[in-house]
């Protein structure tokens, strides 16, 4: 599965989709879910939480490890994906459909610093070596 070109990415393997209202939706990439393996639990942040860029925001737990999901930019969390409660495997089955949390960035310009699909792929390839 290739990384959708309409999304932005972080070096810590989150994908970011900018919505029409300026908010963003965050999930983890195909590469991240593959590394972690079968998901068993997802801990989403509560709405209203203020986060800094790079702050630990959610936790995804697989049979192998528990990993943090980081806020891609500074802002305020507007909600977590309740559908992952009891169905964490959605992150494995449909990584670019199963989002983890949504947030309102403090500054829309911060999004420009994120990676595009090609740059993210190059980052993944470089980590493999």
């Amino acid at each position: 599965m290739s990384n959708p070109a309409n999304l932005k990415y972080t070096p810590t393997h989150e994908w970011v989709r900018t919505e029409a209202d300026g908010s963003i939706t965050v999930g983890i990439t195909q590469h991240a879910q593959e590394l972690l393996g079968d998901m068993v639990f997802v801990e989403c942040p509560d709405a209203g939480r203020k986060v800094r860029a790079g702050e630990e925001c959610a936790v995804v737990e697989s049979v192998k490890a528990a990993a943090d999901v980081y806020a891609p930019v500074a802002g305020t969390v507007t909600g977590g994906n309740g559908e992952l409660d009891g169905a964490p495997q959605k992150l494995n089955e449909d990584p670019y459909g199963a989002w983890i949390f949504k947030m309102k960035p403090d500054n829309a310009a911060d999004l420009n610093s994120l990676l595009d699909a090609a740059a993210y792929q190059a980052h993944v390839d470089s980590e493999a070596h």
Partner: protein, 451 residues
């Protein structure tokens, strides 16, 4: 049997192998001032016959004292089979069961233990144990704060063991948490509800509810649990496992039940041994399972569909999550837990109930007997489990010294931790005490006070 890892010949051979002329030459790089030289304070070795004689002479100096001290470590009868089984090599030498295929016996014992503890506390899940009751309480506080998210304030009654409060404070304070002490009612020794009510409406993460409390007094657990939940705080039950055979399980406290139950497991099969080792137990509601430190053993099936046991929910333990682990002191006390599991299996539900009832009755009988001594009275009024506080007409240390000369360990002196109680002595008489023992206590106390 002497333990000599290397003979002189071995050492010569090794020195020759690396080209060092002597041991001193080998360590020459370490400045002389830092080398210990000869250990002059250490006497020459003794042979087995001599050391056996020395140690049995010393052991004989330990006069057989009749013990009436509780205060967190309780003398109970331990069936001989318990430690006979626990000290089998298969249990005694087993290491952490990371490798499930080589550890089915250990894993099954832990699984049975968890089942028993969950049943005793009325909670959904149990972990495989923690170090002791005091650190277990600290972990429960951290767990409550993690799950609460906004508050770092936890209310802790002054009737919780002062040692537990001090340990909990050491562990949780530097993580920005605040333990607020709730005074006890002078009449009953239990939580002062008026003082507690002053915290209503403030942002509180949890309320610790001891049952029984350090004075042996029984708290109004239903009311306290409901109060905590009304504040959107968790209810942490700090319980004596023996008492649970008679009292309502934390899972049934109040309308919704306590959220976490912790305590010290020593009364379940671990002997009194200079203060240790003990083990801590921790149980919780299903919703909190991912906040619970330590390991949990699960029952599952292998590829062929055969049942087996394995570590589960360990993704947040330190060997995987390192600095971000739920807790970095989540070792369990496997051997003590094995003893507790065998103890509970041997005495059974009815046996544990009889142990608890006999301990309660003995303490009650003792309290009545000593109240006949002029100047001695119970400090608190109200129901108790197997400990009571006695108010004496004289300073406690001298009384205890005099009783000890009479062969009786008379109890735990409360004056250092609770000066407001005056000459207060905490006394415990478990099922191990006979009528004659209670009489001996009463006589010794009378002599100590009125000789």
């Amino acid at each position: 049997m002497p333990f000599i890892p290397h003979t002189d010949a071995d050492i010569r051979e090794m020195l020759a192998g690396i080209g060092a002329p002597s041991l001193d030459a080998l360590f020459e790089e370490i400045p002389a001032a830092l080398r210990s030289g000869k250990l002059t304070g250490v006497p020459d070795g003794m042979n087995e016959m001599q050391i056996t004689r020395l140690m049995s002479d010393r052991a004989a100096q330990d006069a057989p004292l009749l013990n009436f001290i509780g205060a967190g470590a309780y003398e109970h009868h331990i069936p001989a089979a318990v430690w006979r089984i626990v000290t089998r090599g298969e249990f005694y030498t087993a290491y952490t069961p990371y490798q499930a295929e080589a550890s089915q016996g250990t894993l099954q014992v832990l699984y049975e233990y968890q089942t028993m503890m969950a049943s005793l506390t009325g909670m959904d899940v149990s972990n495989a144990s923690l170090y002791d009751g005091a650190s277990g309480l600290a972990e429960a506080i951290l767990m409550a704060v993690r799950s609460h998210k906004t508050s770092h304030k936890v209310l802790i009654p002054a009737g919780v063991s002062p040692i537990y409060r001090s340990v909990a404070q050491s562990i949780v304070r530097l993580q920005g948490n605040e333990l607020v002490e709730i005074p006890f009612d002078a009449e009953t020794g239990t939580v002062d509800m008026k003082a507690l009510q002053q915290h209503a409406g403030s942002d509180v993460a949890a309320l610790v509810i001891p049952q029984p409390n350090f004075f042996g007094a029984l708290e109004k657990v239903d009311e306290l649990t409901d109060w905590a939940h009304a504040q959107n705080a968790l209810a942490i039950a700090l319980v004596n496992p023996t008492a649970l055979a008679l009292l309502k399980a934390p899972g049934q406290w109040g309308a919704k039940g306590a959220d976490i139950a912790v305590g010290d497991g020593q009364p379940l099969g671990a002997p009194l041994s200079s203060g240790g080792p003990h083990f801590g137990f921790m149980c919780c509601k299903q919703a909190l399972v991912r906040q619970m430190p330590g390991r949990i053993i699960g029952r599952t099936v292998d590829l062929e569909g055969k049942p087996g046991f394995t570590l589960t929910l360990q993704a947040r333990e330190q060997h995987i999550r390192r600095a971000k682990a739920t807790s970095n002191i989540c070792s369990n006390q496997g051997l003590m837990v094995t003893a507790a599991t065998i103890y509970m299996a041997l005495v059974g539900v009815d046996g544990l109930r009889r142990v608890a009832a006999a301990s309660h009755n003995n303490t009650a009988a003792l309290a009545v007997q000593v109240s006949g001594i002029s100047g001695v009275k119970r400090t608190f009024h109200g129901p108790h489990f197997h400990e009571v506080v006695l108010h004496l007409p004289k300073p406690v240390p001298a009384v205890l010294a005099s009783m000890q000369a009479d062969g009786v360990l008379g109890g735990y002196d409360l004056s250092a931790h609770y000066p407001q109680l005056g000459h207060a002595l905490l006394v415990c008489a478990t099922e191990t005490k006979t009528e004659a023992d209670l009489q001996q206590y009463t006589d010794a106390l009378r002599r100590a006070l009125h000789a």
